[in-house]
Amino acid sequence: MTAFYSIYRGYFRTALVVQFQYRVAMIIWLLGGIIEPVMYLVVWRTVAQQQGGAVGGYAVNDFAVYFIAIMLVEHGTFSWIMWEYDFRIRMGQFSSQLLKPIHPIHSDIADNIGYKFLTLIIMAPTAALLAWLFNASWQPDARTLAIFVPVLVLAFLMRFFWEWSLAMLAFWTTRVDAINQAYFIVVLFFAGRLAPLELFPQFLQRVADILPFRWMLAFPVELLLGRLTPNELWLGIGAQLFWLVAGYLVMRVIYRAGIRRYAAFGA
């Protein structure tokens, strides 16, 4: 455990130093993560105002809170590994990772968390600014906030395992960009980035329940908004745990198969 602690500390340090080197790139990434939810916020807010103050169960204020929360949770759980893996394999970086006596996922997790912490300096005030601009009022109770922390960690980990697994398709195909694009569209819909899932037709809501994406993003946000019954909360945590374990197992299987393929074809 202490060994892991010092490894992660090393990775964090590296991640922070590297991010500082690329401040401009970092700001551009952040802007993307801010602009997208704000866009949907503006659209839905306008629609709600024109429909007499609410759409589905969402009032004007709910939309503001929802999308600000989406922005934060998306920031907390997103990864960029899918855009990197292919490059890593083809440029031979993967070989040097394989030579190290540690699973390569650790440096990716640390890298991701390092970036998240660093950029929180910008994300937190941005969220406050947006809340002020859109007049969002939100009064969570302490219990909700306490449950939110593990729910967010679960969301992060399960999303990370799944995206890491998907990224490994680069072992088999050079067309990872197409796969990534398809994945992001699915996430856009089924994770609740485009609109709260409650506004979807019943049928699509049930589909979203079965898929893993809702539990990565919409679920923690709905928790923050206080829209979940205790039953729904526990079911959701159960779903997160299920997808976490499944993602972990899938990651292991694909990793093993990927390595075998890599080792057969050469680097």
């Binding site: 060994a3 340090r13 030579l99 006596p101 540690i102 075998r260 057969a264 074809f265 680097a267």
Partner: protein, 335 residues
Amino acid sequence: MTQENPVIEIEELSKVYTVTEREAGLAAAFRSLVNRKTRDVRAVDKISFAVGEGEIVGFLGPNGAGKTTTLKMLAGLLHPTDGRAAVLGFRPWERNRDYLRRMTLVMGQRNQLVWDIPVIDTFELNRAVYRIPETDYRRTVDELTELLELAPLLRKPTRNLSLGERMKCEIAAALLHRPWVLFLDEPTIGLDVTMQRRIRQFLVEYNQRTGATVLLTSHYMADVEALCKRVIVIHHGKLLYDGELSGLADRFAPFKTVEVELQNGAGGRPLDEYGEVLVRSPGRVTLRVPKIETASVTGRILTDLEVADLTVQDPPIEDVIEQVFSQEATESEEG
């Protein structure tokens, strides 16, 4: 060669790559969608050898001979198609953590240094990843800094280093965990002569200090001559020779070079009755003489001509190697 306590032991090791092939042109591209043609390339073909503890062995062969493929199999990056290999008792491609902690692979163009951070920070990262105890780490860094003269480089980000500086730091980073086995693929590639010499000296010292086993490839014969008593030569994936470096000339170059300095020049006299004339200038001639005739030829030269000086040498190792590679790989499979 057989070894008492081999650190590296491979038997009938083979690697076959399957590559897809198609002709140029759009029609061929469409055809290949349906009917993919593949071809097997035998990169390494049933090679066997063993390397004992503390040995430095040169692994030679022309481009595409299968050297890098073999090193990658031994480092656990590639699965062999057939055959066995054990390094320190581990099967490399299982990539046991205990094995990875005891070996290193340095490839000329590969970088394990993190591009954007100072070199010393990459070292720190390796310390954590390899779980090197703090005191050992300090000692090793000091030692490597001294041997490779890294002091002015450690605080610079990798991207600000020259190729030679980076290579020195790469080697240091690869040795922080004091590996017992080193696989070095062209460790001096792209470096100037001074830097090459420094890296060679360093490798000798490291080997003497730690007793590490080294298997290295290089295109620079100076590397091989300075470091390796023993060489293994492969060509077209097959083992051609395994033995002393000095024996390579005996085996593959049945000639000696005889250099003669003449007191009054040789006049117009043709000298090819003594051997093949390689270089001739007034007062000096270099001849190539079959090894078995060396004694009699030199005797004749000394009696026939007014000789100021005469030396007999093995041909340069480069020439021998060239000779080896120009021969068919099938010629001496028993090597």
